[in-house]
């Protein structure tokens, strides 16, 4: 290894580039930016302003925060539904006035005042909702106009009745308690905001109306086409916003015992800024109540903090303007570019120097030397099948294979002409195995481990294993279960090829070459799944040794076969038995002569081997080139290799014509024939093996003769 390669190996194998991509796939990154902003804001103002965190100071500022949060919750719901409500300030002010009017001028009870405030908010919200929801007017301008309208009305009412309110003698303990009292150290407004936030959060995330709001906001057209009553849903969001603002208005009426020209002034831009700064997306569908609340705290801390620091008139507007512009721009850019960034940084290749290998070229004279024998294979289901990754035969000689349509197809013995869909599972059924009772166990790509009983009942055995503490990407989920085999005690050993890519993105995994493949075991006794081995480059085929005391598994991108011991002195450990093969190994199965068949899905090429020593080049390649110009493992040539218990190569065969079986992903010996499948092939091949035991079958080899 020269110095350049040593540097590359350090750079790409030690620096965890892949974590950036994995973090970006997390939904909580959406929350991280507003949360950091929140912490920073509280930290800065808390340290600048003396006594910021004192109880009395907090009680005063949280009282205001409660009212403001209520308004922001309403705004958040409207924005989640794809709208915007600029009239919240007016609703707030008018509701405040309604409460003041009923209490101080009509001298009615506090509860009637509350009812009046709520009625005002609901009616105003309903008008907005009708205009925007049912008449389909533009939310921004419409609510802007109703905002002016409401504000004008409020100004008239306040100037008309200000004197009467001043002279009123009405007072009430309830009013004073709502306005100034505390309950367990928190003011009533904060309690109300907390309760409403929890209720709204649950409604949005766990109830049908809430889902409808998010659906309409996420894609109005799709929601409409899916039969959701879009107009009514939009209407309800505005009514809810009016409701929230009216509670806020009632609370401020109680706190200030009156209404003034400044009530609710600039509230709409503050609430809007709060929602956007918190990360509620413009245009709807993305966001949560929690985000709205975070934004509310940020905005209120900043504006109040600036006032307490003594900055002059206009500073608030300046800061709000900057915050709004920055937050909106970040929101839009983030939404637009997150996927682009993710695509750019997710693939993080590592350095690997593949070992020297022997040639498999015809005439090279090595034990790997491929011949043209497989081109003589008969074909089964030609043109009917798509992607038989694995093939298997039962005790009655029927042939089963998976297809890319998520089905397991059965071909009937003896001629394998007639076929039927044995079971529909979904996903992409890959590895197959029969257990002692004749259940067909399958590793279904992108889904998990499944069992199909002889009477075709499909049952999920496992879709997850235990989560490891250090992994950022969710490694509990099985992303690419690939092949399985069953131990004499009934435990199912299977591989999950990669943690970082879905099954159809196997090419990206090969380019990245990061060792994330696993060997797992499913125990049918208690239904548990355990991870046995981790950190292999695309674990693939699994095969129980003839004595049942160990198993072989293939590590595709490293071109190696390992042996994992189930019992004996080495139990629980793995050792490499074949290394530096010229081909990429896939499934492994038993042969009648005590050896093992192994499929090669493709052949190593010097160019790809070289690229594995240049991770920077592969990174640039995935970023800058279209997918069909990528360099990735050659899968146009493959073959079948037989190896013995010690890992020695016995023979190799291939299809040099490339017509019938260019790549092979599985093969199964049955009564003197070898049945050959390929994940990109359109047939199953049947090849007559010379000098094979004509009575040997795989079910009998595993589970003994016919019961």
């Amino acid at each position: 290894m020269n110095f350049r390669e040593r540097l590359q190996a350090w750079r790409y194998n030690l620096v965890p580039d892949h974590l950036v991509g994995e973090i970006l796939t997390k939904r909580w990154t959406d929350n991280a930016i507003p949360f950091l902003a929140l912490v920073a804001t509280l930290g800065v103002f808390g340290s600048i302003i003396p006594g910021f965190f004192k109880l009395t100071s907090l009680q005063e500022s949280t009282r205001q925060l409660g009212e403001f949060s209520l308004v922001v919750i309403g705004m958040t719901v409207v924005m989640l539904g794809g709208g915007i409500d600029l009239s919240v300030g007016s609703i707030f002010a008018l509701s405040c006035f309604s409460a003041v009017y009923v209490f101080f001028i009509l001298e009615q009870s506090v509860w009637l005042a509350l009812a009046a405030a709520l009625a005002t908010g609901l009616v105003f919200g309903a008008i907005n909702g009708y205009l925007v929801g049912y008449l389909r007017l533009r939310a921004f301008l419409t609510t802007l106009v109703t905002f002016i309208f409401g504000r004008a009305l409020f100004d008239i009412l306040v100037t008309t009745y200000a004197a009467d309110v001043q002279l009123s003698q009405a007072s009430s303990d309830v009013l004073d308690f709502i306005g100034d009292g505390t309950f367990w150290g928190l003011s009533v407004s904060v309690w109300l905001a907390i309760i409403l936030a929890i209720v709204t959060h649950i409604a949005l995330t766990r109830s049908r109306p809430g889902w409808h709001v998010l659906a309409v906001g996420g894609s109005r057209r799709s929601a409409h086409n899916a039969g959701i009553r879009v107009r009514r849903t939009v209407f309800m969001t505005y009514v809810f916003s009016g409701f929230c603002a009216s509670i806020g208005g009632f609370l401020i009426a109680c706190r200030l015992s009156g209404a003034g020209p400044g009530t609710g002034l600039n509230l709409e831009i503050m609430a809007l800024t709060a929602a956007v700064v918190g990360g509620v997306s413009l245009g709807g569908g993305r966001g949560s109540v929690i985000k709205g609340l975070m934004g509310a705290i940020i905005v209120l801390t900043m504006t109040n903090g600036l006032i307490r620091l003594g900055y002059g008139t206009g500073t608030n507007q300046m800061v709000l303007g900057i915050m709004l512009a920055v937050a909106v721009t970040i929101d839009i850019r983030w939404l637009k570019n997150r996927h682009k960034v993710l695509n750019e940084v997710y693939v993080a290749p590592v350095y690997l120097k593949m070992g020297e290998t022997q040639s498999a070229a015809p005439g090279s004279g090595t034990s790997y030397e491929l011949d043209n024998r497989l081109s003589a294979a008969d074909h089964i289901g030609l043109g009917e099948l798509e992607g038989p990754e694995d093939v298997i035969l039962d005790r009655d000689d029927h042939l089963y294979c998976g297809t890319r349509h998520g089905e397991i197809v059965r071909f009937f013995a003896p001629d394998y002409v007639k076929s039927e869909v044995f079971a529909h599972i979904g996903g992409f059924p890959l590895g197959l195995a029969f257990d002692r009772d004749g259940n067909l166990i399958s590793c279904v790509g992108a889904m998990g481990l499944y069992s199909v009983s002889p009477d075709r009942e499909v049952k999920r055995l496992s879709a997850e294993t235990s989560r490891s503490w250090t992994s950022i990407v969710d490694d509990a989920r099985l992303r690419d279960p690939n092949d399985c085999d069953i131990a004499p005690d009934g435990r199912i050993y299977f591989t999950d090829s990669t943690k970082r890519y879905d099954a159809h993105d196997w090419a990206l995994d090969s380019i990245e070459n990061r060792a994330t493949g696993r060997l797992l075991v499913y125990d049918p006794k208690d239904g548990s799944t355990k991870t046995l081995l981790d950190g292999y480059r695309y674990t693939n085929g699994v095969c129980m040794a003839h004595d049942g005391k160990s198993l072989f598994f293939a590590e595709s991108w490293a071109c190696r076969v390992h042996r994992y011991w189930l019992e004996g002195p080495k139990a629980g450990t793995a050792e490499c038995v074949i290394r530096d093969m010229p081909g990429y190994p896939d499934n492994i199965n038993r042969a009648s002569d005590g050896n093992y068949w192994m499929a090669w899905l493709g052949m190593r090429t010097p160019s790809f081997d070289l690229s594995l020593r240049h991770p920077d080049m592969r990174k640039r390649m995935t970023r800058r080139l279209p997918q069909d110009e990528w360099l990735f493992p050659n899968i146009n040539t493959g073959g079948v290799v037989k190896f013995n218990e010690k890992g020695g190569i016995v023979e190799a065969m291939g299809d040099l014509s490339g017509d019938a079986h260019p790549m092979v992903t599985s093969m199964r010996e049955h009564k003197g024939y070898l049945f050959v499948g390929g994940i990109l092939n359109n047939r199953v091949g049947r090849y007559r093996i010379e000098d094979a035991d004509p009575n040997w079958t795989s079910p009998a080899s595993y589970w003994g003769g016919k019961p």
């Binding site: 709208g83 709807g284 008139t313 507007q317 300046m318 709004l324």
Partner: protein, 328 residues
Amino acid sequence: MNAIGWPNWRRLNQEGIVFAIAILLFAAAAIGLPGFLTADNLVAIVRSVSVLGILALGMAVVIIGRGIDLSAVAIMAMSVAWYLQLVNTGTSDGLAFGYVLAGVLAIGLLNGFLVAYADVPAIFVTLATGSFVFGYVRSQLITQDAVPVPGGHWVELLGGVRFLDIPVEVFVFAGLALLFFLFLRYTKWGRFIYFAGDNPVAARNIGVPVRPMLVLRYMLSAFVALIAGLLTAASLHSINTRIVNSTLLYDIVLVAVIGGIGLSGGRGGVRNVLVGAALIGILLNAMTIIDIPLLYQNLIKAAILLGAIIVDGIINPRDEQTAQQGDI
């Protein structure tokens, strides 16, 4: 609506309706209100809508290009306030004007850049920059709400210019209206604005420089706001920055929308601004003569604006299948 030529009377459209209402209102006021149909009052009507009309011209160009500029009033008031403040504190006139002009164009550039290149909706960008401009100038650059025009300054002299007893802002409004008319109707870039407003993607595909033009539109709107601000200061001999918190901004949108410039872009022209300005001018003047308090005038204006938006929504309905996501 045919964008070119006279209104099509056979088909009712918003512009036609508004024009008819304006004439009816004019006739009713002329008959019913004493002192309405005098030369002085007519000049007062035109004068009262001149600044509004000038601002509406800038707004119209932005709206036709499928945008909106909510920062116009803030730019108008704050730029002039800053200019007068600079002059009052001894900065040379040319330098002060250079600063202000650069600042105004910079804000227009910022608006346009964020809308065109960062894909941020225009309403949010301009709402934010409007708030920022007001806050920044008010808190950092000037010391009180109202800034007076220094005695003998050219802005003050401008306010006194009369021609045939008609104040100068009327001529400025008329001249700008003519310029905008010629620009929108007869220049390539003027026509491109309609293309870009009607279908930005198609316009971009046929090679129209959609994004640079968008930036220029916001800079134009900001520049027009500066002119309007100077005229306001000229006639009042001071500029009161509290105007930013008034309903002037909504009056501008009102003039444009009520005249029939569709908010979805691509429709309307200078004529629509004139019709809208005529109606609002007559209305405001009549309300002032009847002595309706300012607060009630706001209420009435808001009601009319609401009606105009509803009619706009009914004439140009939005479709569930073709509506754009995030188009609020």
